[in-house]
């Protein structure tokens, strides 16, 4: 409405954000924890004059730079790309609130990239102390990047005192109730995930058992610490969630399963770490390390998915709904019409579209104004078409159409048009994680007509039919 909606068949546009984000965090956490690993271990190798270990670390740094500086950095930019396309209003709010947080993070990001290249390309050319110092510059800059980004992303789940205009500021938004728990959890995730990647890399690249054992033993403690930090941060994350997010977690069966899966997977990783690298470093084979990475990545991806899912119906809690409207706009939209738009300045995208394609519903006295009452005078096929426009802008952020992600047709088997209308007008009442209906009664009726046109009949053979 404020912006054109991007229709992505089957998966819906916001799921693209989830896909890009999950791929990115699996690398970006390694970029943080791996930097710490390289700084600490290079210093250790210099101190013990272990040339073989240094040679391994140089090879690992190449792998690290190839993965994090190219894939990690570009997928990070990719998140920017996708959020601007799929959640433009929320992105606008975030950027206007946190532009200097991002700009500050960018400075650390540049330091990261520069230090990473120097650490690798000048390997053996710099004095040992200087080389290690460069490694530490990378590690510290990468961790501060994590902290700064977490302040912004955690704001989306719970803006805290920022919601009150009296205390609304960059700082109240940044130091939101979720900031500390998520920072702890992500720091733990970085330690754990990087250790798992190191194990996999070492188990494949190294033939010498001594070095494998050395790496297994030295990386086990940070990995175990990481797992504990994830659990501590996760507990804080749950404790400081808004009530609606806790309820969403409890109410949705799929989230129940996924939440349980995180604990199971993290537990499996913890036990494998303890039994393997910590107690029996010699176990570090490619198969064992691969299993560790697999469980770790599965736990991590599940956690990221849940983090996104519990925010419903908001993109930013109490600030922007998933369908790109603001809570304050709802009353105005119910009065003026969703397609008309709530902002007094300028025309909404939906208004302009309706004016071009359905000129007969425009108010003759004011041709830029939609007269919703005329919707019901249209032939049913035209009503359905307008209903489809409403569906795209009001619903498609979470629901595919016929099949795909949370496809609406699959949820409406056998429902009548009256049932659709009742559901639309009480959208946020039955399932609280739906956004409120933000349109007029006429708009609800044409949307109900559209839903009726795509609802499959009640499956046959059921008793009673």
């Amino acid at each position: 409405m404020h912006y054109p909606w991007w229709y992505v068949p089957v998966i819906t546009a916001p799921m693209l954000i989830a896909a890009v984000s999950i791929v990115h965090v699996l690398v970006s956490h390694y970029a943080v924890g791996g930097g710490l690993f390289l700084a600490v271990e290079t210093a250790h190798a210099y101190r013990t004059k272990d040339r073989e270990y240094l040679a391994y670390l140089k090879g690992h740094t190449k792998f690290f730079v190839w993965l994090t500086v190219v894939f990690g950095a570009i997928t990070g930019v990719g998140i920017w790309w996708t959020i601007g396309l799929a959640s433009p209003l929320a992105t606008e709010v975030l950027i206007r609130t946190f532009v200097f947080g991002w700009a500050t993070e960018y400075v650390f990001f540049v330091l990261e990239i520069t230090a990473a290249f120097i650490f690798l390309y000048y390997w053996g050319r710099l004095p040992e102390k200087t080389h290690v110092a460069v490694g530490w510059i990378y590690a510290v800059a990468a961790w501060i990047s994590l902290v700064l980004i977490t302040g912004i992303t955690s704001f989306m789940l719970h803006p805290g005192a920022w919601l009150d205009p009296a205390t609304r500021s960059f700082w109240s938004g940044f130091f939101n109730p979720q900031f500390l728990p998520q920072t702890v959890a992500r720091t733990g995730g970085a330690l754990l995930l990087s250790s798992l990647y190191v194990y996999l890399h070492a188990s494949i690249a190294l033939k010498e058992q001594r070095l494998r054992d050395l790496i297994a033993a030295r990386s086990a403690r940070p990995a175990l610490l990481g797992a504990l930090l994830i659990l501590a941060g996760g507990a804080g994350w749950y404790s400081f969630m808004p009530e609606s997010a806790k309820a969403a977690l409890a109410a949705a069966a799929v989230l129940n399963v996924l939440a349980a899966l995180i604990f199971v997977l993290t537990g499996v990783v913890f036990v494998l770490l303890y039994l393997g690298p910590y107690r029996n470093p010699g176990w570090l084979s490619p198969g064992f390390a691969g299993a560790l990475v697999l469980f770790g990545v599965a736990a991590f991806s599940t956690g990221e998915f849940i983090r996104e899912a519990v925010r419903k119906p908001y993109v930013i809690y109490n600030v922007v709904f998933g369908n790109q409207i603001l809570p304050n706009e709802v009353a105005e939209l119910r009065s003026r019409g969703y397609l008309e738009g709530a902002r007094p300045e300028g025309r909404s995208w939906t208004n302009a579209y309706i004016a071009r394609h359905f000129p007969q519903v425009m108010d003759p006295a004011n041709p830029t104004r939609i007269d919703e009452k005329k919707f019901l005078d249209l032939p049913r096929s035209e009503q359905i078409k307008i209903g489809e426009v409403l569906f795209q802008y009001h619903c498609n952020d979470c629901h595919a159409v016929h099949w795909g992600y949370s496809a609406v047709a699959m949820m409406l088997y056998g429902r009548t048009e009256d049932m659709h209308l009742d559901m639309i007008e009480n959208l946020d009442r039955a399932p609280f994680f739906m956004p409120p209906w933000a349109g007029t009664r006429e708009e609800a009726k044409v949307l109900a007509a559209y839903l009726a046109s795509i609802s499959p009949p009640r499956p046959g053979g059921m008793v009673p039919q």
């Binding site: 894939f71 930019v77 920017w80 947080g101 500050t104 302009a352 579209y353 802008y393």
Partner: protein, 385 residues
Amino acid sequence: MPPLDATQLPALPAPFWFIQFFKVLGFLLHMVPMNLWYVGVPLAVTLYVFGGERARRWSERLMVQMPIIVAAGINLGIVPLLFLQLAYAKAFYPATILMAWFWLAVIGMLIPAYYGVYIYVSGMRDGAGSMTVWRRAAGWCSAVMFLVIGFIFANAMSLTTNAAAWPDLLDRHSVAGAATGTALNVADPSLWPRWLLMLGLALLTTAAWTVLDAVWLAGKEGGAYQRWAQSWALRLALAGAVWSTVTGAWYLFGTWRPTVFKEMFAFPAVILTVLTAVSCWGPGALLWATRRKALNWTLAGSVVGLQAGVLALNAISRQIVQNIELRDVFQPSVAAQPTAPDWGPMALFLIVFLAGVGVLIWLFAQLAKAGPEPSLDGPAEPPAA
């Protein structure tokens, strides 16, 4: 706690001039490495096959540095993008949503293009016979993808200022009023000269890099290479000047809207317009005038300085033109948006920025101590695992 007022999104958190300054500065800095991959990679992969001995050496030198150049270009591109989204969201988001799949394809192409550069370079570094057909193909694919990415960017930026085309594009690329993301701004006459103009600027930047590299990093290559590089830079600079003049004239006289034309040719903006137009001849003219003299630091520095001026004038002119073109979207003007400067976070950013510059200086100082010829031949080979 009342929610955010629908009519009042958070105001711009900085004075408009501040946003504008960093947007232009970021774009200027981004253009330097971006120009080098835009024209440099296609030229390098071509000369590696068809060039003479020194042309091949030039190609190798540029491509060995390319992984760092690409990293710098991508990272510096974040700055203008951030400030573009801050103050120009109302125009930028609709434009990119209308062409969403193409816009997203930038990310999809940038990753293989960057890896393609690494793979190609590994073929050069692993010794004779290692430049296999696949490694060569990776370089060619990267070259093509960089050009296509440039085309998509030209689409996005021209569509951002072409609000009049939005309704029609939405009609032709929509499902029930929702954008399918498959539009391109190809009907906009300004698209083509804008895209091609960047190629001219890129030729000029590549010329400046050639003389800088020859005096700074190519000490071991010998005097003959330096002389060749000087002559090659002259040809690049003249080609860039001719190309920029032709495409620039096409852009100005063939596609500027009357309001833009009127304002950019009125005093004092006309000074900037004329300077921007003629500046592209500066590097070529200097190289031509000194073509019989030996290449030295003063000459190379002057060429680089002149090219920096060319890019700076372009960045400033483009910004002013963009602001004029966007008056239809931001009434009365983009600069008139409400601002509520967030001084605390801004101060934090500026302090961190200065401290970051200090750390960078320290890092580069360590490189100077490491030896006269820093190894840019870093991670050319594939990783160990």
